[in-house]
Structure formats: C-alpha cells, structure tokens
Amino acid sequence: MEGVDQTDLGSFRDEIRTWLAENNPGTPPPLDTIEMREWSSAWQRRQYDCGWAGIDWPVEHGGRGLSFLEQIIWFEEYVQSGLPVGHSCFVVALAHAGPTLIARANDEQKAKYLPPILRGETPWCQGFSEPNSGSDLASLQTRAEIDGDMLVINGQKVWTSYAHLADYQELLVRTDFDAPKHKGITWVICDMHTPGIDVRPIKTMDGGAHFSEIFYEDVRVPISNVVDQINEGWSVAMSTLAIERGPAALDYQLGTLRDIDELIAVAKNKGLLKNEELAMRLAAVRAEGAALRSMTYLSVSESKSGAAPSPMTTAVRTFWGELQHKVGRLAVDVLGSESLELGKWSEYWLTQFSAGIAGGTKDIQKNIIGERALGLPR
C-alpha cells in the first residue's frame, strides 16, 4: 500500500475542475418527466463530446481507456462542483448495464449497445425484481419461451427506476422451469419499445415518480439479445449486482459525503455545534463518510488488481445505506420543527427510507455477509 504520484493526476483534476466550471448546465435536472430524459441526454452528450464520458471504459467502446484513478477523480470533482448526483436516467446504463455488457456481452452486442450509452442516446432500466421475487430474486417467474430465433416473454417486473424513460432494459427471465432456480434464468437485452410492454408508474412516499411496474404480454425479443448463454443469466446478474454494490456507485456515495458537509454547515450557521450531542453525532457521520470513501477505494483497488471480488463489497453498500439513514435523522434533529415544511432536508429524510431496501434489502445483505463472507451456516 502506497501513496500515488500526484503530478499527473493533479493536472488531470485541474482540467476537470475547469471544464465543469465552464460547462455546468446551470439549471437543475427536471425530475421524472420526459424533460428529464432530454436534460440527461444533452448533459451526457456534452460530456461525451468533450471527452469526459466513460473515462475508464475501453477506447473501442467510446471510452477514454484511462485507469480507475482518473475515473474516481472525475466523480470526486463532479460531486465537489455541486452538480446534482442521483438525478439522471442514465444511471442504470452507465453504472449497471454498461459495465455488465463490457464484462459479459459478445463483440456484436458491445459494438451496438455501448457507444450510444456514452453518447447519451439510450437510457436503460433494470428488470430484476418481481412482485413475488424481492430478496429471493432467483425465484423470479417472468417466463420466456423459445420460438424459433425469438424469445416470447410473459410476466411482470416491479420497482423499475426510469422504465418510462428508458430505451432498453437488462431483463431477467426464466427459460427453464425444471432446473434449480438459479440455473434456469437468462439475462436478455429488451427493447422497451417492443409491442406488449406496458409500463405503469408507481409514486413513492417521498413524492417521487421514477418507479414503475412493467407488464409483459407476448413480448418478442430476438435470441441474439441474450447476453452470455441461455440459462446463464444468474451469473451475469451477479456480475451486475457486484458492480452495484461496489465502485460504480462512487458518485452517489460521494454525494452522501457532500450532504454531510452541507448538513454540518447548516448546523454551524444555527449555532448548533455548541450542542455537544449533536456535534458528536455530526462528527461521527463525517468520520463514517470518510470511511465509506476509504472502503470503496479499497474495493476498487482490489478489483482492479485482479483479486476475486470480496463478499465484503456488500458491506460497503450496507454501511452506506445505514449512513444515509443517520444523516437523514440528523437532518431532522438539526432542523427541528423547520423540517415539517417540505424542502431539501425533509425530502432527504423521506428518500433515505429507500437506502436500506434498494438493490437488495440490508437484511438480505447481512445474510449474504454472514454466510458468504463469514461462513456462518444457512
């Protein structure tokens, strides 16, 4: 373990900082509407045109081909610039679908689907959870029958972010009902404009509307859209989940650190740092914020050095979810009755309820840590 040579990275950082200052879109993204897609697309395209999209993606897929360190520096400067994080309908494409395709898709699929992501043309969504398959994802029942060179899909997905704005979906379907549950699943690229797909938005308790449930009725998808092999979908999905639980969410994680900084500033302006209990709690969450970043650096370094993905990457996500909860609760305590008016921090409090649920509840994650990382019996 050693430090890094700052010389080159420092100038790279300065370059990003200057570019972000000069190219900041100025207006915040509209939420959840078709205007959000236009905003996200234009902003992603702007980044692409200036060479800031896919910094650590391979050059042949439209990326810069630089190391994870440069990618991290981009995220750090992005967050530091004050630009909103967590409000882009490209998040699944950039952080999930893209990295999974890079890891598991064939050359033809990579050439077709990856460059448009970086160019801001094609938002993606995820099609994993079902009404009866939440924590027990592998029990999913959405079925795909093989009909010549097509898959015919029937079933239902739910909790899909930005489904109403997406062009493509990373969709998990059951292709073998007789095999053990993990062995009969296929990961397929689904065009969201295919006939038979019905997207119905679901509103969330914080007032948001980025969620949907999706119904599939005889949806015909070419078999050539299957990533890896038929019935190999669980292992493809696991590579996606490992990404979700690891470094790809770094900009979101650093966003939490920025939230902590802002909350401390609010408390300071209110003179609340003199309150020893609040000061201790704020200091503790800031320390945990620092630790969150260190844990992610550790995970990324390990994965880039070729080490097998550690089950403890799950720990980072769980730690992060619990940290968001603490920050939200602290925000209510810092604001006091002011938090009764809907605003930035009361919305933060309402939104953090999802932190222990999204991407696998923290309860199932603790089972995974207990069983896979610690070796406790099932």
Binding site: M1, D5, Q80, A287, E288, A290, A291, S294, S301, P377
Partner: protein, 345 residues
C-alpha cells in the same frame, strides 16, 4: 495500485501474529494480570517478550534507519498494532513507540537507543491517569500539537477496569524531550485505531466460531438471523475501521493536508467498532460470555481502556468538524520516510 498491501507490509502483520500467538497467548495474559495484581507495582508484561519485541524492531519500526529505526512507515505500524490489539498484548507498546519517535527525531540518541533496545519504556497519560507507567520510567503526554516525554516521579496505582493494564495517578518530572508537530498526534491516533481494529477483528472471529459451534433448538445459533446479523454488523464495522485506518495511514505517511482529519476519522470509526463489537460479542455468547473465565470480557475491558486513549472520541470531534468539507483533492502522496533527519531540520 495505491490501495493494495505490499508483500512486505503483509509480512509485518504475519510475523507479529505468529510471534504473539506463540509468546503471548491469552492464558499467559491472565497469568501476567494476576501477577501484576499481587505485586501491586509491576506491569502485566513479560520482560522476555518485551526484550524480544525490541529484537524484532517493533519499537523503532516506523523510524528511519539513519535514526536507528527499522525504516518503515505508518502503514507497517498499523499492521503491527492490529496484531498487538488482536492478541490483547499487555504492556505500553503504543506509548513506548511514540516516545521512540520523539526521542529519535529530536536528537536524543541515547534515549532513542534505550527505547529501541527495550531498556526503557513509556506509559501514556490518559485523562487524570497514567496508563502502564512505572516509577522512574517515562510517560508520553500530548498538549495541543506538542508531544512530550517526561519521567514519572511518583506513582499511586488505582484499580484498573482492565486487569492487564496498569492504571495510576502520578507526579511527573520536567520534559525530557518534546516535538511540536500535529501529525505526531495524528500518527499516534492510528496506533490506537489499529489496536482497536485488532480487537474488533478478534471478537468477530470469536463470535463467528461460536455461531458455528454452539447449537440450540437442534441447529447452530449462527443460522438465526438475530445472531447472524449481529455478526454481519461486526464485520461491517471492522471493515470500515480497517479501510479508514489504512487510508489514514497513507495520508499520514505522505504528510498530506488531510492527514489530521483522516486519522481523526480512523479513530472515530475504530473506537466505535471496538466498543460495539465487544458488546455484541458478549451477547452472542450468552451467559458464558459474561463469565470471568471467558475471554469476551477481557476484550470488552481493553476496548473500554482504549476508548479514552489520546483524548478519546471527544478529542476527534474538533478535527472532524473543523474542515468545511471532505477534501477529495488530497490523495495520499508518495513521501517517505517520515521520521527522518530532514523532518527535524
């Protein structure tokens, strides 16, 4: 790759672990504690192990070779102190190493040599007490950014919450050597953080082992989510403590602008991890964990002791709240060695 332990760093940990397993098993710790209790003056340490620790270079591990040390840095020290924590090694390792830093960097060559060779050791001022001090021995104390070493003129032992750590009130003599450098405290915080990390990891192993071995209702208790999730929480806290302590180690090694903040963060998460993990560990063991003969109590008591070392959690608050924001731009730089004649000049 900046965040992967080198072979040499891993080796510092594995050599220490092997030595401590052989020389300082916990059964021995209990015997030392009993002996110290009856002697009323002595420390709970084994002079032979202390001498051999010196032979392994532990007391000058992070000091430049030109100053008589081994020439490693903060990350290697973290590897060593994690193992000292894991084995609940008795004796003033933290404060003796700090005294060695101060003596060697300020040109007190003879004192440094005495410390590195194990002939002299130093206790640590902790609140109103001196931890593991000896009459006529040294004590390390911090005053703002100043770290000073004094001699102990008078020592009145009090009953200690941790039977393997000596606690006393004392009278101190004049300053023998001192250094004014805020990063000395930051680096010292990491020695304590590392010991706390070792404790967090040790009790996690203990709980997982018991979760597998102990059966109730016809199955291992580790199958129950109440126990499994507590173990997962212990693992998450240990992971945070380890990542932050090592990352802070890189910052302190590179003497970056963010080093004081990062080490305060390490102390905060590590103290919390050791505190909560040792509590959860007793609970995971049920009644046996509450007995004197079980080791769970020893770990809880040492975690309690370390919680207050170097000012404790409260001392970390100003450093954590002083900055306006997390400073992402300060990545740990590649600068070593740390305690070198250059720093002094």
């Amino acid at each position: 790759m900046m965040f992967i332990l080198t072979q040499e760093q891993l080796e510092v940990g594995s050599v220490a672990s092997k030595f401590l397993d052989q020389q300082l098993p916990i059964t021995k710790l209990r015997a030392f504690a009993d002996a110290a209790e009856s002697a009323t003056t002595g420390l709970a340490i084994d002079e032979d192990v202390w001498r051999r620790s010196a032979e392994l270079g532990w007391f000058g591990l992070g000091v430049s070779e030109s100053l008589g040390g081994v020439g490693c840095g903060p990350v290697e020290e973290i590897m060593l102190f994690t193992e000292l924590g894991r084995s609940l090694a008795p004796g003033p390792y933290v404060s003796t190493v700090i005294a060695g830093w101060v003596a060697s960097t300020t040109g007190a060559t003879q004192l440094a040599a005495d410390i590195f060779s194990g002939r002299r050791r130093a206790g640590l001022e902790t609140g109103e007490f001196i931890v593991d001090g000896e009459l006529g021995g040294l004590v390390v104390r911090f005053e703002g950014s100043v770290c000073e070493v004094r001699e102990i003129m008078q020592l009145d032992r009090v009953a200690s919450v941790d039977p393997s750590v000596g606690l006393a009130r004392g009278v101190l003599g004049p300053v023998i050597v001192q250094i004014d450098d805020a990063l000395v405290n930051a680096r010292a915080q990491l020695l304590v953080s590392a010991m706390e990390l070792g404790i967090s990891l040790a009790v996690l192993d203990m709980s997982v082992g018991y979760g597998i071995a102990r059966h109730q209702f016809g199955k291992p208790i580790g199958t129950f989510q109440a126990v499994k999730h507590r173990c997962a929480d212990m693992a998450i806290r240990s992971h945070a403590s380890r990542a932050q302590t090592l990352f802070a180690g890189l910052h302190v090694a590179g003497r970056t602008d963010d080093a004081v903040f990062q080490s305060a963060a390490a102390k905060s998460v590590s103290t919390k991890a050791a505190k909560l993990n040792t509590v959860d560990n007793v609970q995971n063991h049920g009644a046996i964990g509450f007995t004197l003969e079980h080791d769970a109590g020893l770990f809880a008591r040492r975690a309690h002791m370390l919680e207050f070392a170097l000012g404790g959690e409260v001392a970390a608050v100003p450093a954590l709240l002083a900055v306006d924001r997390h400073r992402f731009e300060t990545l740990p730089a590649r600068v070593e060695p740390w305690f070198s004649p250059m720093l002094n000049a």
